[in-house]
């Protein structure tokens, strides 16, 4: 068995002598014998080679699809080698949170650059160092908006179901209300939004694109929300922002989102990366780490964790949030991804997503018995309707090693196309679906 220990028995003896203890057991004399654990009922330790075999066997029990047309909050994108390789450097991977600025300048600068990249992507003025996931970032963003007299959060039935679930949890033990508002034709409806706005509403949360893949009119929503005295929080897909108007231009107060598409694998759901950015007005309310640029004692540029008066280790129960460890390494990956792609590369990825998805949707809708559920503009996801066929379609694709869209019910499937697929792949899916739908 491997144990990653390095002291020899002889050294242990010397150490015990220096301590003045007879045995290691003596060191635990404060723990009463009554409390002492029986030997743990776990298997014997194994060699590294055996562990690899076991884990390989687990990995083999999963099905890796050759082609993926499913999104719904987890997206299959190209991950450049430069991203994987550089982020794996152990100086990054095995470091702690950069509390000691003098020996962590590389980490601090990388976070500062991440914040800058997120600000450039969103148009916002302040980004934190990351949050656990798009869902938790969304929740903590709406909590930032809560005021004494405003305790209601409005969301729509077209945001990611997990995000709604997480919001329900986080609001449940606070004196806050979650109002889930119906949408019309898949998008936020001005009248329904107007009906839900009142003096109690502190925040409205929308997604861009929304869970159905459709694009919302963020500017119009922002106007409406602001005129009611509330704030708009938008969960934006960061790849889509390669093309779309940034949330700041649209009047969004806090931009959040799931940044998994920026270089992170699907990973069966995590680790992912919640990004969170706001206007400078909200800066002292944003949760999590923030890195700032300053000068050192010699007047040279230096980076430090800053605005810590917001944080739990200083403010304890009065902190803006309890967050401590976040998803720093995922943020590094996203930084390297955005830097490597650059403005042209990200635009190209986004263009390929939207183009592939539109070709795909168009081809599917030509099949007899299949229609698109909504008519409005979408990014890289869309819903088809085919009476009672969801299961049969997905199972036919599965047999060919293709992960089809997510079945929302017996009739509807939520599809996703990214830059990973080609015309040939899409045509193949269409053929298979065609056979089923007939």
């Amino acid at each position: 068995m491997a144990n990653y220990l390095t002291n020899t028995n002889e050294e242990k003896k010397q150490m015990l002598e220096a301590i003045g203890a007879q045995s290691i057991n003596d060191l635990f004399c404060d723990i009463s014998s009554k409390l002492r654990a029986k030997p743990l009922c776990l298997s014997e330790g194994l060699s590294q080679q055996e562990v690899l075999d076991i884990m390989l066997a687990y990995a083999d029990q999963n099905k890796v699809y050759k082609k993926v047309f499913r999104g719904a909050g987890s997206y299959y994108h190209y991950i450049p080698s430069v991203v994987k390789n550089l982020s794996a450097r152990s100086e990054f991977l095995t470091a702690y949170t950069p509390y000691q600025a003098e020996m962590s300048q590389g980490i601090l600068q990388s976070i500062f650059e991440y914040q800058s990249l997120i600000c450039r992507l969103t148009g916002m003025e302040v980004s934190n160092a990351s949050h656990y996931s798009g869902a938790t970032a969304a929740v903590e963003a709406v909590l930032m908006c809560a005021e004494r007299k405003r305790n209601t959060v409005v969301v729509f039935d077209n945001v990611h179901p997990d995000t709604i679930e997480v919001m329900k949890t986080y609001l449940s033990r606070r004196e806050m209300v979650l109002d889930i508002v119906r949408t019309e034709n898949g998008v936020v409806d001005a009248d329904l939004l107007a009906n839900s706005l009142n003096d109690n509403v502190c925040a409205v949360y929308v997604e861009q694109p929304n869970f159905f893949g459709l694009l919302e009119n963020l500017s119009k929503i922002a106007e409406q929300v602001h005129s009611a005295g509330a704030k708009l929080v938008a969960g934006c897909n960061p790849i889509a922002l390669g093309l779309l108007k940034n949330p700041a231009e649209c009047g969004v107060d806090i931009a959040v989102g799931e940044a998994q598409p920026l270089g992170l694998p699907m990973n069966f759901g995590g680790p992912y990366l919640g990004y969170m950015a706001c206007t400078s007005k909200e800066m002292r309310k944003i949760p999590g780490r923030i890195v700032g640029q300053t000068l050192d004692a010699d007047g040279n540029v230096a980076y430090v964790l800053t605005l810590q008066a917001r944080e739990q280790h200083i403010r304890r129960e009065k902190a803006t949030s309890n967050i401590c460890s976040n998803e720093a390494h995922c943020a590094l990956i996203a930084s390297i991804y955005l830097s490597s792609m650059g403005s042209n590369g990200l635009k190209e990825v986004a263009t390929n997503c939207v183009s592939n998805a539109h070709y795909f949707a168009n081809e599917l809708s030509k099949i007899n018995g299949i229609t698109l559920k909504f008519g409005s503009e979408f990014f890289h996801e869309f819903i088809t309707v085919s009476k009672g066929n969801s299961k049969a379609i997905l199972s036919a694709l599965d047999k060919q090693g293709i992960l089809g869209g997510l079945a929302l019910n017996d009739d509807e499937i939520l599809w996703c196309a990214t830059e990973m697929c080609t015309k040939e792949d899409i045509d193949r899916v269409n053929e298979i679906v065609n056979e089923v739908a007939l």
Partner: protein, 473 residues
């Protein structure tokens, strides 16, 4: 050094992707942004930039990292390889469960192992970090009391020596916080606790070993006091590395625990995450665990939702990739190996402590657990050299400083946690460094005041950073 933006030259490209194979689709111009000010950098410049940044960072692979309360043990390379297996990282979270039995087996096996290690009956792996676990655990406690109609249990008792996340998490979960003072031995003051508990007590949060690195000897009495008042006992697993296989939180009377896989179970800290903060609980609380949980029926794993669950605390199932690494660690060490890891963590801490006791003050004369706290108050009084000065001077010796000024109840505190993966030679070097710095404090205090003197920067101006925040470029 330059930022990535200063390497940017219009037209540079680090990555190329497959040209479009369908006609380009153009979104309506009204929807589009005018400019996207991301850097344009060549691949070689990207590689050099991030390599240069990495050389200005310090990880466990770079040297001794005795950061108290953080358990900076070695992160085995095998685990990184395993976590990047295509059969793990290329699995979509919403694939049908028929096609994800391997991932679900990993989660289920890890949960079962953590139950055994902690003496709990159920575990969720959904929380993404320790504080996220604390929040989840406190939500379970809230749900437990509410389900019993016990709505006035609104208070969480937290020792004054606790991690800052404890009160912050309790506040996030909608509780009021009461601090309980420490006694002379820096454990919970029992008389004080008796006065504080009552029919409004939801729970007491405790680390054991405490943040002083000492085992809370009165734990059984504490458990009795809290439970008799109708409250529950919450275990902050930050310090579990001292006691694996030696004493289990469940056997000490704890009802809910959170663990930090990135501390105790050797998954890398990643400069601040991703971590994983599983939460374990006793039987009566299982039904409140976050949705979904995994059940095995007829030999097949399935996700199941419980009506009484507190709901979800993040998307999907938490930080699966971190869980994979933690399971690999547990399989490698096995039950005995985990115990041996804790024993050696405690041996290393005591060895270092024993070799520093004659020059620095420790809180008590007891054996410490996996970490120990030195007070440099006397040194400061005598020489003007502070804990901060000593810590910063360690940087010049290529060692990561210990945790500074925590716990708050110790003046000029330095908290050392060497961990079990360090050998005697490294500890001897660290001891020598501390002894040399003690001497230097008396002979050339100004050198320590200005430390670090050989790092890439001198001490940064934190006040300037906070007063006039520059948080992007």
């Amino acid at each position: 050094m330059k930022t990535i933006f200063e390497h940017s030259k219009v037209g540079n490209l680090a990555v190329t992707i497959r040209p479009l194979t369908v006609n380009e689709y153009k979104l309506d111009a009204n929807l589009l942004r005018d400019n996207l000010p991301l850097p344009e950098v060549s691949e070689v410049d990207i590689a050099r930039h991030y390599t240069a940044l990495s050389k200005r960072a310090f990880g466990v692979d770079d040297g001794f990292y005795p950061l108290g309360s953080c358990t900076m043990k070695y992160n085995p390379k095998l685990h990184e390889e395993i976590a990047t297996l295509s059969g793990f990282c290329n699995i979509h979270p919403l694939q049908s469960s028929d096609t994800t039995q391997g991932s679900m087996a990993v989660l289920s096996t890890l949960s079962t192992s953590l139950c055994e290690i902690t003496g709990m009956d159920g575990v969720t792996l959904q929380p993404c970090a320790g504080a996220h676990g604390e929040y989840t655990g406190l939500m379970l406690i809230g749900a437990y009391h509410s389900a019993r109609g016990d709505f006035h249990r609104t208070k969480i008792i937290v020792p004054d020596s606790a991690h800052g996340t404890n009160p912050a998490s309790a506040s996030m979960a909608g509780f009021e916080i009461i601090a309980v003072k420490s006694n002379e031995e820096k454990g919970v003051d029992l008389d004080e606790l008796r006065k504080l508990v009552g029919d409004d007590t939801a729970a007491l949060m405790l680390t054991n070993p405490t943040t002083l690195g000492l085992f809370e000897k009165n734990i059984e009495e504490i458990s009795k006091i809290v439970h008799e008042a109708g409250g529950l006992l919450y275990y902050d697993g930050a310090n579990l590395n001292a006691v694996m296989g030696i004493v289990r939180p469940g056997d000490m009377g704890f009802d809910v625990v959170h663990l930090n896989l990135h501390k105790t179970f050797a998954t890398p800290h990643g400069a601040g995450g991703p971590g994983s903060g599983p939460v374990g609980c006793k039987k009566e609380l299982i039904k409140f665990l976050p949705n979904p949980h995994i059940e095995k029926n007829d030999g097949k794993y399935e996700f199941v939702n419980s009506e009484e669950s507190i709901g979800k605390v993040t998307k999907f199932y938490g930080n699966f990739g971190v869980c994979v690494k933690a399971l690999a660690y547990i399989l490698t060490l096995g039950g005995n190996g985990l115990k041996e890891a804790s024993e050696n963590a405690v041996l290393n801490a005591n060895y270092m402590n024993a070799n520093l006791q004659d020059i620095f003050d420790t809180e008590t004369n007891r054996f410490c657990m996996h970490e120990f706290v030195l007070s440099l108050q006397k040194l400061k009084d005598e020489t003007g050299v502070s804990a901060m000065d000593v810590a910063k001077s360690m940087i010049d010796k290529h060692m990561h400083p210990p945790t500074m000024y925590f716990p708050m109840i110790v003046h000029e505190a330095l908290m050392f946690e060497p961990t079990e993966t360090e050998n005697k030679e490294t500890l001897d070097e660290a001891i020598q460094v501390m002894r040399d710095l003690f001497d230097d404090a008396h002979t050339k205090p100004e050198y320590l005041h200005s430390a670090p003197n050989n790092a890439v920067i001198k001490r940064p101006d934190e006040v300037r950073a906070a007063r006039n925040p520059i948080v992007k470029m």
